[in-house]
Symmetry: C2
Subunit: 304 residues, 2 copies
């Protein structure tokens, strides 16, 4: 995706063709993908940026709704195909700092799908039982089945993020996990899982605003904890951990996408578009029936 | 709910006040509830009926969308309350013949909730493993957690429906299940689960039309199976099994509601309203924060 210093060269700015056409043309996967095995410098990405977006918020909201219909159709095809043996599915992995919008993405983007085909898991701190197993154990149990859209709100990446920042395990153990993750995600891809990993990039300033909003509204106090303030002191360490995770684990089998998330409308639009592009590339097809349509019709009509 | 022969006395007909007001006033739970321990005669219920509905389809669609917003708010409150120890949750049980709209209800009604708080389970024929356990074993594993909305697309009632009609187990074993179900549902209610059981009532004629529609559209062939036609021959036996299930298992702890389902717009409206009434009666509240709001605000603002 475009970095701060190349802002002016972006497709959405200085446009010669209408924004709507450019938007449809742009492949957001290419724009937002983090190249693997290269150092990542998060400070070079503007969290308020809106790469390849529609002209304004109103257009983006309308476009998101339009994409929602298409997403629902493709999801139905994916599910239908699974009833005929197609093992493919999609797994959206959402990561980001507190208030970055993981929950909002599930509500507004995943809310556009048929809920019966979605398998959503919000990962919390591991339980005592989970800690007795490999860090991937609980992840494997939550994977989408063929035909489903899986959504991870946090994931196995916490085991190289908070685990690294808070030193929950020795550093050499953390270091070994990146390669384990890559092998695991490679095996998912081999098994028909399209893995879409999204880092919701918000600025520390925007997080402060969102935390203050929660304090201002008593109906949102349940979402707030004073530890949220303490975690902010570790912001640079978290950013470094995210940089390493994306540098080491953005692979062809399971690339990382960086979605600027200071603007909620852009976040919802961009993730909808990323999902749409991936589902279109999968191209799921309705299976053909293996029965005699005319005979079935006749039997139904001939009934008493 | 109103029966065929009392149609004219219904609230929605012969109205003296505007339909919209009547609709809000009417308690749909009372209208649609099947009284337990009384014989049920399904032939006396018109599947195309629209008890207490808005004036027309357009009004009903608009009202359903409005209720959707309210449902989302109440769901958030329910979930928020669970973070402070409230164990309550809601379980919607959907039963009905093929094409009666169980899947459509999940898509259109449950689709109005935040998907992250929904736990949906579509029960198929039991697996070999499931058959080794009590018929309630797999049901108990799929229950909603505190704060969640659970949805069963088919349920433990299959074990007194198809099990009875197809004689999958001896009749005396089926007979013992009704009381087991009542005890189980009583225990759910005691544990904070509001159980809402809905029978989607369609006519055999409407089912025929819906099956023909599936045949007419190749994109819907995956939903069709020739066995659907054979099952229709058992229609009277299924109706009898439903009558018995509702007569014996419509209890105060977990009542049955009969929703006429020949009209999809009415089905979606009525189930939305039933859910709304139940959630409003539960009256979940946002928990109060147990931290010093002013101090947190000050700390956030004082940060570098």
């Amino acid at each position: 995706m475009a970095k701060k210093d190349t802002k002016k060269s972006k497709a959405a700015k200085g446009a010669k063709t209408p924004a709507s056409k450019q938007r449809r043309r742009a492949d957001l996967r290419g724009l937002l993908r983090i190249p693997g095995e290269e150092p990542v410098d998060l400070s070079s990405y503007d969290a308020a940026d809106t790469p390849a977006s529609p002209a304004d918020k109103i257009d983006a909201l309308a476009d998101t709704i339009q994409m929602g219909e298409r997403l629902g159709e493709l999801q139905e095809r994916l599910f239908a195909a699974s009833t005929a043996g197609d093992r493919r599915r999609l797994l959206l992995v959402l990561q980001g700092m507190d208030t970055s919008g993981k929950g909002g993405t599930v509500k507004h983007v995943i809310g556009q799908f048929n809920p019966s085909g979605c398998r959503i898991m919000a990962f919390k701190s591991p339980t005592a039982k989970e800690l007795k197993h490999s860090f991937l154990w609980r992840i494997k149990k939550a994977l989408p089945l063929p035909g489903e859209i899986g959504i991870f709100d946090r994931s196995h990446y916490e085991d190289v993020l908070i685990a690294r920042v808070r030193e929950l395990v020795p550093l050499d153990a953390v270091e070994r996990r990146y390669e384990k993750i890559n092998r695991f995600e490679r095996s998912l891809a081999d098994d028909g899982v399209t893995v879409v990993k999204v880092f919701l990039h918000i600025s520390a300033e925007e997080q402060r605003n969102r935390l203050l909003e929660r304090l201002d509204n008593p109906d949102k106090h349940w979402k707030f904890s004073p530890t949220d303030i303490e975690e902010r002191r570790l912001w640079p360490a978290y950013m470094r951990a995210y940089e390493l995770a994306m540098e080491r684990c953005s692979t062809d089998a399971a690339p990382w996408y960086l979605v600027p998330a200071d603007r909620k409308w852009y976040r919802n639009w961009a993730i909808s578009k990323l999902l749409l592009e991936h589902l279109q590339a999968m191209g799921p097809q309705y299976p053909k029936g293996d029965f005699d349509v005319e005979e079935c019709r006749r039997r139904l009509l001939e009934e008493p």
